[in-house]
């Protein structure tokens, strides 16, 4: 189990967190097409390499935060708390 670096609680086991997806901009509901909306919902890029994603420290401080992680090495750099 990898460790995730929570900006509030430090390095904790990934089991304490929920992964809530990579960080993407929510399309404007007023103008979005079905294709764009469903790409946003269902088709994450899933690259092999650095990704920026949101984690939720559900068994700790219960804060959402943004982390950059390398999916090839699982190296995690925390970027910022809050903000998507």
């Amino acid at each position: 189990m990898i460790q995730i670096r929570c900006p509030w609680c430090g390095l904790r086991g990934a089991g304490e967190f929920r992964y809530t997806g990579d960080v993407r901009t929510r399309p404007d509901p007023a103008s979005v097409t079905p294709q764009e909306w469903r790409d946003y919902l269902y088709f994450p890029a899933n690259p092999c390499g650095p990704v920026v994603e949101t984690w939720y420290h559900r068994m700790g401080c219960r804060r959402f935060f943004t982390a950059e992680r390398d999916t090839a090495t699982n190296e995690v750099w925390t970027l910022e708390e809050g903000m998507r």
């Binding site: 189990m1 430090g10 390095l11 086991g13 929920r18 079905p34 909306w37 804060r63 959402f64």
Partner: protein, 980 residues
């Protein structure tokens, strides 16, 4: 019964691990066997002269001792009702009932041994080739094959052993308690690290245990050193089963009382792999005849258990361990008929014998009568933990074994897996590795500290940044990154002849009965990748999982394919390294169960419990239909404490509600309550509930019982990531309140008697309004006037500590009104009569808002809300099923929930139609109010018009007709009863 004499037992040995002052007996296939404390099951059996312990997997050949260790493939036995016990490892205990497995009718006379005669039909892949066609005969094959299952017996009556779990956070974990591992543990602890030292056998010491006087002296010193070192936790009879990302290490402790195993989940800063080496069997004709043993097996029997392994021996040796075994045998009074030195070209061609070795045929043409053949032909490096750390060990032809290649920062290796060398060199290497492990652990610890916000590296750690002194044992913590790495001396690597298969074919995988001929045949059939050949022949796939046979398998495959071992590669060592019981993985049942404060009352009134998520709730109190009628006619009370409750405060709460509910919330007045539905971003109904406004900036939201946690997280997700500037504070208060719904025409009368500070008159406190006040003398109660049951009803949220008192007061004061409790089942009947949907029951993971009859609630003219785009498109294209009320034409038939609605009519069970599924029943009950069956159902949109006839297929295939009703509500569709 008297025990058989210990006729193979020797006099006291200097390093023996048996206690001759404590003896006892156990049963072996019905016979009585004597043992000493410290004996393994098999050492005691061997001491009594037993040589055959099991029959082999395919050919049912007799099998005896091979390794005299945990891995011994011939020594897997049934103990009591525990199957597959590694009996050359498990210590004997008084009264054990030990039996051989996979033999019928007996170990001595096994009819299945006839399969040896069929061996030419049992070649590689025989499962795949023989028992497949014709397919219709598979049941026959299956029943025959079941009799050949190679395993012990499990009794369904076996009491569950309570397996426990533990979490640990050692600085340094050392896998393997041989000389290097012990030295590493002591050195790491001396540098201030907290150390866990894990040894698979029952005693620390590794190969020193069966060594000579100098080895035993060194062992004694190391044991004293470890025992006297604070900060070292020693676990014996425990094994590191796996290493996962970021040094998450699984340790399994065996031999706990009751036979249970304990799983330790350890987050380790530095892992030191010190597993030693595993002696490799040699492949030649007859290499599995009982009496063919490895040199380490012989040395263990003699030195640890004082058991004479035979009377007349031939020793094939290619290394010092084989030479030492020959010396041990002579000392034990075994006649060493011949020492064959493989280093100068000597070889064993074949062994003759069936139930025991009779003779050995040597390369020089001679045949030597003997009952014991000992081989010392090389070592396998158990690189499992290295592979699991991302290393790809490399094969060194000169030493005939694999070595570590490149280890990550947090993993080190010492001992035999790292190289050869004298005992002192190994200890010196271990010591250096231990100090280096502590140094790296200190640095990792500092990095972890630095990852904590507001806590830069602690000052005290800065003090420890000094290089570790040689003996400052009281340092307390690992020195945080003593700047310079500890110099680690190189271990020499000794040359060793490559000895895998001799001049004849023999068994490679003793567990799976795979011979070298089978592997060559698989290569010949085109399975020329080692991964394919392994799966095709099942070599390395038995209980020893390659630890004995992997390198031989690779070597023989390489030879057959005309490649080198390095070109052939190796199969991957995956966790677990050793077998783990499912009980250890499952651990203790630690799922929390929640009860409401009114639970004592429910229990005292014969409530039938219902497990709903984490909650235990009263399903009913004996007669749910009568409970429902009582609500319709008089007054009932239900415990609804599990309903999720979120306290929302702040000026921006209406923005949040508008964003997450599909309906509008901007104009909710103080004291008003509104029903709301939440959808996820794909438009699927996610939760529902009511939210009331208690004050200018104060709201109370309710959620479904099962959705409480998810809704909270959903709110926080939006607030924290999308709108962190909104001023809203969310507090979960589900268990802060005891909740109860007082429902029925007499509910107002009842509440008037106990409520203070609230005018309950319809004009003062109308339907869908909320008030706070005093109930039964308890301040701070919240009263909602809502109607899930369809009756006049009040939902009370009472400070949890007073829940039971308020409940009892209501029951007491309402006696003359006919008050009675009702449970979840009655509530389900009542809400179905009223046509109120339950999220998750009448919706599923694909049900978008317009499919849940929520057209009236979804406000597409709002700028934005979660799921709006999908709902707008659903509205435009009118897609998806519809939720409708449904009544079977025969009101006495209640179609079970999930019954299919099918195309066609099929009236009267004629079986006509019913090919296409066009819907399903989501809820169904016999309505006590109407005296007929009522349903909610999903149907295709074209069938949703009131009055449409549909066909329902009952389980078993009978078709009945039903009609779509005008409203979802079967009772009081106008909602008059709730508004009185």
């Amino acid at each position: 019964m008297t025990a058989a004499p210990m006729r193979m037992r020797l006099g006291p040995q200097p390093g023996e691990e048996i206690d001759r002052s404590r003896s006892f007996t156990f049963s072996w296939n019905g016979r009585t066997i004597a043992a000493y404390a410290g004996d393994t099951i098999v050492s005691a059996l061997a001491g009594s002269g037993e040589r055959v312990f099991s029959r082999s997997f395919k050919y049912h050949r007799p099998r005896g001792l091979l390794t005299a260790s945990y891995l011994d493939p011939g020594c897997i036995l049934q103990v009591g009702d525990e199957p597959n016990v590694r009996a050359a490892h498990r210590q004997a205990a008084a009264g054990m009932d030990v039996r051989s497995q996979n033999t019928w009718p007996s170990l001595r006379f096994d009819v299945k041994a006839g399969s040896q005669l069929l061996s030419r039909f049992l070649g590689p892949g025989f499962y795949y080739k023989t028992f497949i066609w014709p397919r219709r005969l598979w049941p026959v094959y299956e029943s025959v094959l079941q009799r050949f299952i190679h395993a012990g017996q499990v009794s369904p009556d076996t009491p569950l052993a309570a397996a426990d779990k533990r979490y640990a956070h050692p600085d340094v974990l050392i896998a393997g308690g041989g000389p290097a591992g012990m030295a590493a543990a002591a050195a790491a602890a001396q540098s201030g690290a907290r150390v866990m030292l894990v040894e698979e056998e029952h005693h620390l010491g590794g190969h020193l245990r069966w060594g000579g006087a100098a080895d035993l002296a060194a062992l004694s010193e190391l044991r004293d050193l470890v025992a006297g070192m604070p900060g070292v936790e020693v676990l014996t009879d425990a094994v590191v089963a796996g290493r996962y990302d970021d040094n998450w290490v699984a340790v399994v402790r065996r031999g706990l009382p009751g036979g249970a195993e304990q799983l330790i989940k350890a987050r380790v800063k530095v892992l030191v792999a010190a597993p030693g080496l595993i002696e490799r069997p040699y492949v030649f004709h007859g290499n599995d005849v009982p009496g063919v043993m490895l040199s380490t097996a012989v040395r263990r029997l003699i030195n640890l258990y004082a058991v004479k392994p035979g009377e007349r021996a031939v020793v094939l040796t290619a290394n010092a361990a084989g030479d030492a075994a020959a010396d041990d045998l002579r000392r034990a009074g075994v006649e060493v008929a011949r020492v064959v030195d493989a280093r100068s070209g000597g070889d064993i061609v074949a062994v003759r014998g069936h139930r025991r070795v009779r003779s050995a045929e040597l390369a020089d043409g001679s045949t030597v009568p003997c009952d014991l053949v000992v081989t010392a032909t090389g070592w396998t490096a158990p690189t499992a933990l290295l592979n699991m750390s991302g290393d790809r060990p490399v094969y060194d032809q000169r030493a005939a074994r694999f070595f570590p290649a490149e280890l990550p920062e947090a993993v080190l290796a010492t001992g035999g897996i790292a190289g050869d060398g004298s005992r002192d060199q190994l200890i010196e290497h271990g010591r250096a590795i231990g100090r280096e492990a502590a140094r790296r652990a200190g640095r990792i610890r500092r990095d972890w500290q630095a990852a904590l916000p507001g806590r830069t590296v602690l000052d005290e750690l800065a003090v420890l940044d000094e290089p570790a002194g040689p003996a400052n044992g009281s340092a307390g913590r690992p020195s945080a990154g003593a700047a310079e790495p500890v110099p680690v001396p190189d271990l020499p690597v000794d040359a060793h002849p490559e000895l895998f298969r001799g001049r004849t074919h023999g068994i490679v995988d003793f567990c799976e009965d795979v011979s070298s001929k089978d592997i060559a045949a698989a290569i010949g059939e085109g399975y020329d990748s080692i991964e394919l050949a392994k799966r095709y022949t099942t070599a390395t796939m038995g209980p020893t999982q390659g630890k004995l046979e992997l390198v031989n398998t690779i070597a023989i495959a390489a030879q057959a394919a005309g490649k080198t071992i390095a070109e052939t590669g190796t199969t991957t060592w995956r966790p677990p390294y050793a077998p783990v019981t499912l009980g250890a993985l499952a651990g203790r049942e630690l799922e929390p169960v929640r009860y409401s404060p009114m639970q004592p009352w429910h229990e005292a009134h014969q409530a039938r419990p219902l497990l709903a998520g984490a909650w235990v709730r009263p399903d009913h109190y004996g007669d749910p239909a009568a409970e429902a009628i009582n609500v319709r006619e008089r007054v009932g009370i239900i415990d609804v404490t599990p309903i999720g409750k979120l306290d929302l405060r702040g000026p921006d709460v209406p923005k949040l509600l508008n964003l997450l509910y599909v309906n509008k919330w901007s104009k909710l007045g103080i004291g008003r309550v509104r029903y709301g539905v939440m959808c996820t971003e794909d438009g699927v109904v996610f939760d529902d509930g009511v939210t009331g406004r208690l004050g200018p900036d104060h709201y109370l939201m309710s959620t479904t019982s099962s959705g409480a946690a998810a809704v909270w997280e959903w709110l926080e997700n939006w607030l924290q990531t999308a709108y962190p500037d909104w001023a809203v504070h969310v507090t979960p208060v589900t268990t802060a309140y005891a909740s109860m719904n007082v429902a029925g025409p007499a509910s107002r009368d009842l509440l008037t008697r106990v409520t203070g500070g609230v005018d309950l008159a319809n004009e003062a406190f109308g339907y869908m309004e909320v008030r706070t006040g005093t109930v039964a003398g308890v301040d701070g109660c919240v009263l909602w006037r809502i109607g899930f049951t369809g009756e006049l009803s009040y939902e009370l949220h009472v400070p949890a500590a007073y829940g039971l008192a308020v409940w009892e007061t209501l029951m007491d004061r309402g006696q003359d009104l006919g008050v009675a409790p009702f449970g979840v089942e009655a509530q389900r009947i009542l809400r179905l009569e009223k046509g109120h949907l339950i999220v998750g029951q009448d919706t599923d993971g694909l049900t978008r808002g317009f499919s849940a009859a929520l057209d009236w609630a979804i406000k597409l003219d709002k700028d934005d809300f979660a799921g709006k785009p999908e709902l707008a498109w659903q509205h435009d294209d009118d897609s998806g099923p519809r939720l409708v009320g449904l009544q079977p034409d025969d009101g006495s038939v209640v179609p079970p929930e999930a019954s299919q609605i099918v195309e066609g009519t099929g009236v009267g069970g004629t079986g006509v139609g019913g090919t296409a599924i066009v819907g399903r029943v989501t809820s169904s009950r016999m309505s006590p109010t109407l005296g007929r069956a009522i349903c909610l159902a999903h149907v295709e949109a074209r069938l949703a018009a009131p009055g449409t006839q549909v066909t329902v297929r009952l389980p078993g295939g009978r078709l009945v007709t039903a009609h779509v009703t005008e409203h979802l509500a079967h009772v009081d569709p106008e909602g008059k009863r709730m508004r009185v």
